[in-house]
């Protein structure tokens, strides 16, 4: 219960900081027409945050702990696992910047499947099929050229 309450206060606190920064930048805008809407939204947000903090404080509002909450230890482990699982997306983007879409597609799918326990043959076949599909679907059929990557551009390679 306390853990959940702290988390609610933490998230509301983050939103409060974002709102204050948002309001500060809105006040620095040059034209009245530009700043009126952000300031209006900021004020509404501040009112809502006061209501949320009040609800949380009195434990009678919507932010109280629901019955199906995980235990404290489970929540910590869950967060760590989430961080671990979002990491591949960042790796994929890094690969795309260096190798471009085609090579990255192959490397990413092959590595992910192999690490997850797939056989080497299925990993290779699916990686090749996906790369081929993306090559056919986007640059050829949809006429949308894809980014080729720093490395490929540097060495002037075809992909």
């Amino acid at each position: 219960m306390l853990r959940r309450t702290r988390e609610n206060f933490f998230s509301l606190g983050i939103i409060l900081i974002i709102t204050l920064v948002f309001l500060y930048y809105a006040s620095q805008l040059d034209f009245f027409e530009s700043k009126i809407m952000p300031i209006f939204i900021g004020i509404i947000m501040m009112i809502l945050l006061v209501m949320a903090f009040y609800n949380e404080y009195t434990k009678t509002g919507c932010l109280t702990l629901s019955e199906d909450e995980n235990s404290t230890d489970d929540i910590g482990a869950h967060d760590m696992k989430t961080l671990k699982c979002i990491l591949p997306i960042f790796i994929l983007v890094g690969l795309i910047y260096i190798f471009g879409f085609y090579a990255s597609t192959f490397i990413f799918i092959f590595s992910y499947m192999k690490i997850s326990g797939s056989s080497i043959y299925s990993s290779i076949i699916i990686s090749i099929l996906c790369t081929a599909f993306i090559y056919v679907a986007f640059p050829i059929l949809l006429e949308t050229p894809l980014y080729t990557g720093l490395l490929m551009q540097h060495f002037n390679l075809p992909f």
Partner: protein, 496 residues
């Protein structure tokens, strides 16, 4: 007039027209099913081909493609939790939980039937109202739009299961996001931190993917091969279950009708778009349900409402595009461009000089929906196999499509950075139990609200709302916001 209708029917009897309709329907379904694509990209890429085609070749293809794109998108939204299109997000909110409960076929049956009913009924509305709609559309100005959007924003509080305050906070965060970019009225650039790719505002694709597509994939990756998607039993996705979904639509026929009306109404309103309409339909389905708490956990009415609505919207959108020359949606805008490229100026002339074409194209919306239903319904089990793919295969492939789809939208690498940022935001929203749907609605409607508000203020001053329709809309808005209290009073305070 009768002669034009007969000529229009004549177009529909030509085998070549049917070939274009079938081609457009198939492509629309396929693009809708593939995450990150959708009918909008398909239409945009088909645009260059219209140079070499006759209007009754190109337009049936494009109209059919746009008509069933949402139907295809609903399949991935339900089975994978990855909306094929932003308009399928509302379907995903309850459709995907149904898949997790082993009711995927039922959800798909409901979605296909609701799409069919919504699309066909809305075409009926469009045909009946084709001549009457002109004065109605012309009477809607920016001052009415301000309050229509406000009603949409008020519906934010109905979304989510975490209480009104959290939903409204999420909506306000979305409104904050909508402030990014150039202000139309002053021309000043706001909250972009001198990043050129943000001058036109935040692109919707990375925002949608980050908030709605990446978190389910992360969740699936966390569960590994024991994930609920990979555990879906194909044997449970039977025709009987699919028919159960059809029966659900029949049982909720009035909801389906009302949501089709909502979709049609939003479709004819220029610029409001499908996203606001489907969330309004979802909110309506939730508000009229006896057990609103079950929404978000796999309530079939949460599938029927949005699906009926988003297919119904297309008929209204096309009618506005043809009759006024004002696109009712992004697909309508591309269709408008195609018509102009073929030398036909959309507008009132489409109802006088080209009534036959307008009539047949509106009929094609209904025909495409029927074809889409016929193609999809018997193939539910085959389509459902997507859900049985092991997560170790599914996750990397879907992630690749998300990233490639994000890039393909504007061909900007910066959009991928935005995708990463919104993926983290999406995970945090889920982690702290805020509402991503409310955030997206606020983001979509924010810019439109600001623009219409300033136009109204500049034209008519601060008393711009002192007209019958805005006052009626204000009354509706007040009634909606105070409805829980009013209902409590009406029931004598016995119910909380």
């Amino acid at each position: 007039m009768l002669e034009s209708i007969l000529v229009g029917l004549g177009y529909l009897l030509e085998p070549a027209t049917w070939g274009w309709i079938l081609g457009g329907t198939l492509l629309g379904l396929i693009l809708g099913i593939i995450p990150g694509l959708g009918s909008l990209i398909g239409m945009a890429l088909f645009l260059p081909f219209t140079f070499k085609l006759d209007i009754m070749q190109a337009m049936p293809f494009m109209v059919a493609l746009s008509a069933v794109g949402f139907t295809g998108g609903s399949i991935t939204a339900i089975l994978l939790g990855v909306p094929g299109d932003a308009s399928n997000i509302a379907t995903m909110l309850d459709g995907h939980p149904m898949t997790r409960k082993g009711e995927g076929a039922r959800a798909i049956g409901a979605a296909l039937t609701a799409s069919l009913v919504g699309g066909v009924m809305a075409t009926g509305f469009a045909l009946i109202m084709m001549f009457a709609i002109m004065p109605i559309i012309m009477s809607i100005t920016s001052r009415e739009m301000v309050f229509i959007i406000l009603i949409g924003l008020a519906f934010i509080s109905m979304l989510g299961n975490e209480g009104r305050v959290k939903s409204l906070i999420s909506g306000c965060l979305g409104l904050m996001l909508s402030c990014i970019g150039m202000v139309m009225v002053s021309g000043e650039v706001r909250f972009t931190f001198d990043q050129g790719f943000l001058f036109e505002g935040l692109p919707i694709v990375p925002v949608c993917f980050g908030l709605f597509a990446v978190p389910p994939m992360v969740e699936l990756a966390m569960k590994g091969s024991e994930g609920t998607i990979s555990e879906v039993s194909l044997s449970s996705l039977s025709v009987k279950d699919t028919l159960q979904g059809t029966w659900d639509v029949l049982r909720n026929k009035f909801l389906c009708l009302r949501c089709a009306v909502i979709g049609y109404f939003f479709g004819i309103l220029p610029g409001v778009g499908a996203n606001a309409a489907v969330f309004l339909a979802y909110g309506h389905a939730k508000a009229t349900d006896r057990n609103p708490d079950s929404f978000g956990r796999g309530n079939v009415r949460g599938v029927i409402g949005p699906e009926s609505c988003n297919n119904a919207k297309e008929s209204g959108s096309w009618l506005t595009t043809f009759a006024l020359g004002v696109p009712g949606s992004s697909t309508g805008a591309i269709g408008l461009g195609a018509l102009m490229m073929m030398g036909i100026m959309p507008g009132p002339g489409m109802l006088t000089e080209h009534l036959d074409i307008t009539f047949s194209l509106l009929m094609i919306v209904a025909l495409a929906n029927i074809l889409g239903f016929i193609i999809c319904f018997p193939l539910v089990a085959q389509l459902a196999r997507i859900a049985a793919i092991p997560s170790r295969i599914l996750v990397p492939i879907v992630l690749i499509f998300i990233v490639v789809g994000t890039y393909a939208n504007r061909s900007l690498m910066e959009d991928i950075i935005l995708l990463l940022i919104f993926s983290v935001i999406g995970l945090l929203v889920k982690r702290f139990k805020y509402n991503a749907g409310s955030m997206l609605l606020g983001y979509i409607l924010g810019t439109m609200f600001e623009n219409y508000l300033f136009i109204s203020l500049q034209i008519e001053g601060i008393t711009f709302f002192m007209h019958p329709i805005p006052l009626f809309l204000i009354a509706c808005l007040i009634l909606f916001l105070t409805w829980p209290v009013v209902r409590k009073i009406m029931r004598g305070g016995h119910e909380c």
